[in-house]
């Protein structure tokens, strides 16, 4: 069914070999990382051109899907904020102590407009160092976190 094969080379990179024999290291990229993470994954080659387009990850054979998901897990980093412990000030720039699904950390909010509202109520918060944090459901945070967050919305 597939006209390509995926392997991992010793250097830890994914290698895609097409039916025509060309092979290249590839990087899986989600087309809609937030809106529809499981639909539309592109395998792009080292020169930035797309080699393979995967309509949905679920349709792939088990081994290939694992390879891609492993690789994606290594590249994707959007910690999900579970709780806001404290904020350094209500005026930006402000440093927040947060608990995320990836452990506790601090984030630097440079300006209020770095908090982006997503359709459906989720919030996307860009950190001053280029990280992106997700707040999936602000309405279900604990009262303390919600009170802190409310000052910035």
């Amino acid at each position: 069914m597939n006209n390509y094969t995926l392997t991992r080379n010793p250097a830890g990179r994914l290698v895609c070999t097409l039916a025509c024999g060309t092979s290249d290291t590839v990087v899986p990229v989600r087309a809609f990382p937030i809106a529809a993470p499981d639909e539309g994954v592109s395998l792009t080659g080292s020169d930035g051109h797309e080699l393979v387009w995967i309509e949905r990850l679920a349709s792939l054979p088990e081994d290939q899907r694992t390879l891609i998901e492993q690789e994606l897990a290594q590249r994707e980093f959007t910690p999900d904020i579970r709780c806001i412990k404290s904020v350094s000030s209500y005026a930006t720039p402000s440093v927040w102590q947060v608990a995320t699904d990836r452990g506790d950390t601090e984030l630097l909010l440079k300006a209020e407009d770095h908090i982006r509202r997503l359709p459906g109520g989720a919030l996307l918060i860009s950190d001053g160092h280029g990280l992106t944090f997700l707040l999936r459901d602000p309405a279900h945070l604990d009262a303390h976190s919600r009170k802190l967050l409310d000052r910035f919305l």
């Binding site: 020169d47 990836r102 452990g103 950390t105 950190d127």
Partner: protein
């Protein structure tokens, strides 16, 4: 040459002292401690990165974070030296967790946690280290040949340290394989601004301090610098304020005799003493008039002063802003800078003239009233003032809630206006796709959100004023009750009670406005901070301390090992190029290959991070910036015309040019004829609101502008890129006039426009890959040949549309 070890410094710096233009304060001793060799630095840091990059610094252990300081020594062998370290903040599953990478004289060591045993990678041939980042996480990978040994993750906050770490590893590995002893190569200085790190810190004090600090109210004190010239006016304003406040306090005092000596005796059957009444009424009128005059003088003088302080603040900030380098403007949004200079300075001004003044008056009034009340009757005074702090606290609380609410409204409001700002400029698209309905819906949603927030705040807000009056009434009630009790015991007279009531109702009324001061002060402090952000920024293109003046330059340009980093990305690397006077050079390459950066370096919009650029053998850093730029004529792809007449625009670089000169320049630029066709000729208005000129016409005006200043060095940055072929020919003719006898550097996408160039310089990834004439380069069949072939196939091909293999780098670097 001021410190005792300067010979040694020269040796370290490895650079002849004569090259430095800042000889008066050439070297400065930074630190001497332990096994530290003297660290030296030219006082002009930006100008001498080379000196600093060879600095020998303190051992790496002293600067380790606290978490690791005690752990690390136990993990190293006795004779092992620690050379460098990198703290990672993500583990292999990308969870936040602190780890440490160490470079010693013999191996690379990774500690996943303070208790972990650590993975060791001994130096050996074939080890390769690499670093990349994606989506906010960086990775350092270690390879043995082609196999990956390990991979460590960190957030980009550590990226600069990681780049340095990788470099340090590579250097140590090379040394180790060559059998050399470990030297401390680590330049412990910020790769961005090249300021040496202070001991024990791995953060640049220069770049990092401003990021995290929220605005502090103390910033407002810095405004004193601007207030100082007006200190005498301020003092007289303050004295007037004292006088006028005192005058307003006289009338209640006069009610005491009015009550006790006139009205109460009258009720008890005594006739009214009209003489006394006249005196008292005259006193009331007199004090009112005095308060009026003094109040007017006070407000006038202080408003005058604060307006002047605001104006000074604006002018000085703008002047400072103009002197900053392009780098600063690159990182800032125009609207943001405009609002800082415009509305924020105004906000400070209003704060000084209105809020601060009112507040000071109120405080004075309360103090004076307290003194008066206590002098009349201490017990009643105590009863009167006791509820005051409680009421003040309650008002402050409600205010606080309101303030957060109002801030929220501000933000929601900007959301609403963002919808407008999105839609109105794009109205053609909206109409073309018939999406008016959708945009209206979007606006309605934003508006509904606005409404919700407003509804919530209105609940508190509508409660506010009634609450204040209720509290005031309660306060008065206390005074009444206690007062009547005292009167019944004959401790005070009715007059005293009335005077108390008059005084107290005055300052209850002021409590509300006083409570406002907190939020207003915070807002102005934030505004002041944003203005001082600009004022505190030091231009990254500094004026030389001892400038060299060149009368007339010939135009010989020389770049020696020039390198430039933008952030931590090298845009230009080791560039060597000499351009003879009068020579025309064509710069060719993909977008992102560093052509425009090179031009920016030549104009000294930025300073090189490494190496030097010299004109006529003099480093351009030792020439005064404005004097040097006067020798450069710049024609950009998008010519910018200022609002004003065409003549003014042509004479922009030489405001005192005669009309004849302007016309001569316009003729040479082939602009004369089309200018005459305009209704008002050279007096036609152009710029934002002016006549629409076509791209080619605007370009020719900008060429005339460059011609008029008769520069020795001419830079054409894609001067013909945005016009059609026909217009291009016109412009080309104008350019041919311009180029004659000048050192010219031309950037062009269309290779055909460079036919006059005596040499072509082909750039790729910030490096010069080929130099030669068109024919030579065609013959050698290199990068230029491929570019030329690609364009020959399709005349309008942009370089970016070349076959994939050739364009990858361009995409990566742009």
């Amino acid at each position: 040459m001021s410190h005792p070890g300067s010979d040694r410094c020269q040796e370290i710096a490895g650079k002849p002292v004569g090259d430095c233009a800042h000889q008066s304060n050439l070297f400065r001793l930074i630190s001497v401690s332990g096994n530290t060799v003297c660290a030296v630095q030219c006082s002009n840091i930006a100008a001498h990165p080379i000196l600093i990059s060879r600095i020998v610094t303190t051992p790496a252990t002293t600067s380790l974070p606290d978490l690791w300081r005690n752990v690390v020594p136990s993990r190293l062998a006795r004779d092992e030296t620690l050379l460098a370290w990198l703290e990672t903040d993500l583990d292999a599953r990308l969870h936040f967790s602190r780890g440490l990478l160490l470079i010693t004289d013999r191996r690379l060591l990774n500690l996943a946690s303070p208790d972990a045993a650590g993975d060791t990678y001994d130096y050996r041939a074939g080890l390769v280290i690499g670093k990349n980042d994606h989506g906010g996480i960086g990775r350092v990978e270690l390879f043995d040949g082609s196999a990956r040994l390990a991979c460590w993750h960190y957030t980009l906050a550590h990226d600069i340290q990681a780049s340095r770490f990788v470099k340090q590893f590579e250097q140590r590995l090379t040394e180790f394989l060559a059998g050399a002893p470990a030297t401390r190569i680590a330049p412990d200085c910020c790769p961005d601004c090249l300021t040496p790190y202070p001991d024990d810190r791995q953060e640049c004090p220069h770049c990092n301090t401003t990021i995290n600090a929220p605005p502090s109210t103390w910033t407002l004190l810095r405004l004193w610098r601007f207030a100082q010239p007006y200190r005498w006016q301020l003092l007289s304003g303050f004295l007037l304020m004292l006088g006028s406040t005192a005058a307003t306090l006289v009338p209640p005092y006069l009610t005491i005799p009015l009550m006790d000596k006139v009205l109460v005796p009258y009720q008890n059957g005594k006739p009214i003493d009209f003489g006394l009444v006249a005196w008292l009424l005259a006193g009331l009128l007199g004090s009112a008039l005095l308060a009026w005059v003094l109040g007017w003088a006070k407000t006038y003088i202080l408003a005058l002063v604060s307006e002047r302080i605001g104006a000074d603040l604006r002018t000085i900030t703008y002047e400072h802003l103009l002197r900053l380098s392009l780098e600063y403007f690159g990182g800032k949004r125009t609207g943001d800078l405009m609002s800082r200079i415009g509305s924020e300075s105004d906000r400070i001004c209003v704060f000084l003239s209105l809020h601060l003044l009112d507040f000071a008056t109120d405080v004075l009034m309360i103090l004076m009233t307290t003194v008066i009340l206590f002098s009349i009757n201490p017990w009643l005074a105590l009863a009167t003032l006791l509820p005051l702090p409680i009421i003040a606290w309650m008002i402050h609380n409600v205010r606080d809630r309101l303030r957060t609410g109002f801030e929220k409204i501000d933000r929601v409001w900007s959301e609403v206006s963002n919808v407008l700002a999105d839609t109105i400029p794009g109205i053609r698209v909206v109409k073309a796709f018939a999406q008016e309905q959708r945009e209206a819906e979007r606006f309605r949603v934003a508006n509904r959100h606005n409404l919700q927030v407003n509804d919530r705040i209105n609940k508190i807000w509508s409660l506010f004023t009634p609450t204040v009056s209720l509290l005031t009434e309660i306060g008065l009630l206390v005074v009444w009750a206690f007062g009547i009790w005292l009167v019944s015991h004959n401790d005070i007279t009715v007059g005293v009670l009335l005077a108390f009531l008059a005084y107290i109702s005055r300052f209850y009324a002021r409590l509300d406005s006083m409570s406002r001061i907190v939020s207003v002060t915070q807002k102005s402090a934030a505004a002041a901070k944003r203005i001082f952000d600009i004022l505190d920024h030091v231009s990254s293109v500094p004026e030389p301390a001892n400038p060299v003046h060149l009368d007339k330059i010939s135009g010989r340009l020389e770049m020696r090992d020039a390198g430039f980093r933008y952030g931590n990305r090298a845009v230009i690397k080791g560039l060597n190029l000499t351009i003879e006077p009068g020579e025309m050079i064509g710069l060719v390459g993909h977008s992102g290959s560093g052509k425009s950066t090179l031009v920016n370096l030549l104009c000294r919009f930025y300073d090189v991070s490494e190496g030097a650029i010299s004109v006529d053998g003099v480093n351009i850093r030792s020439l005064p910036v404005a004097e040097y730029r006067r020798n450069i004529g710049l024609v950009l792809q998008e010519p910018f015309l200022f609002f004003g007449s065409i003549a003014e625009n042509i004479a922009y670089g030489k405001p005192d040019a005669t009309r004849a000169e302007i016309i001569a320049a316009a003729r040479a630029a082939h602009a004369h004829e089309f200018i005459l066709r305009l209704p008002q000729g050279y007096d036609s208005l152009v710029g934002e609101r002016g006549q629409g000129l076509s791209g080619g016409e605007r370009q020719r005006i900008s060429i005339a502008r460059a011609l008029l200043i008769d520069p020795r060095i001419l830079i054409l940055d894609e001067a013909t890129a945005s016009v059609d072929t026909e217009t291009e020919k016109e412009i080309q003719k104008a350019l041919d006039n311009l180029v004659q006898g000048r050192t010219t550097i031309a950037i062009a996408h269309r290779l055909s426009t460079l036919h006059k160039a005596s040499r072509l310089v082909v750039m790729d990834k910030g490096e010069v890959v080929e130099i030669g004439s068109h024919d030579e380069l065609m013959e050698s069949g290199g990068a230029y040949y491929r570019l030329y072939q690609a364009q020959a196939r399709n005349v309008d091909t942009d370089l970016n549309d070349l076959p994939p293999a050739a364009t990858v780098d361009a995409k990566v670097t742009t």
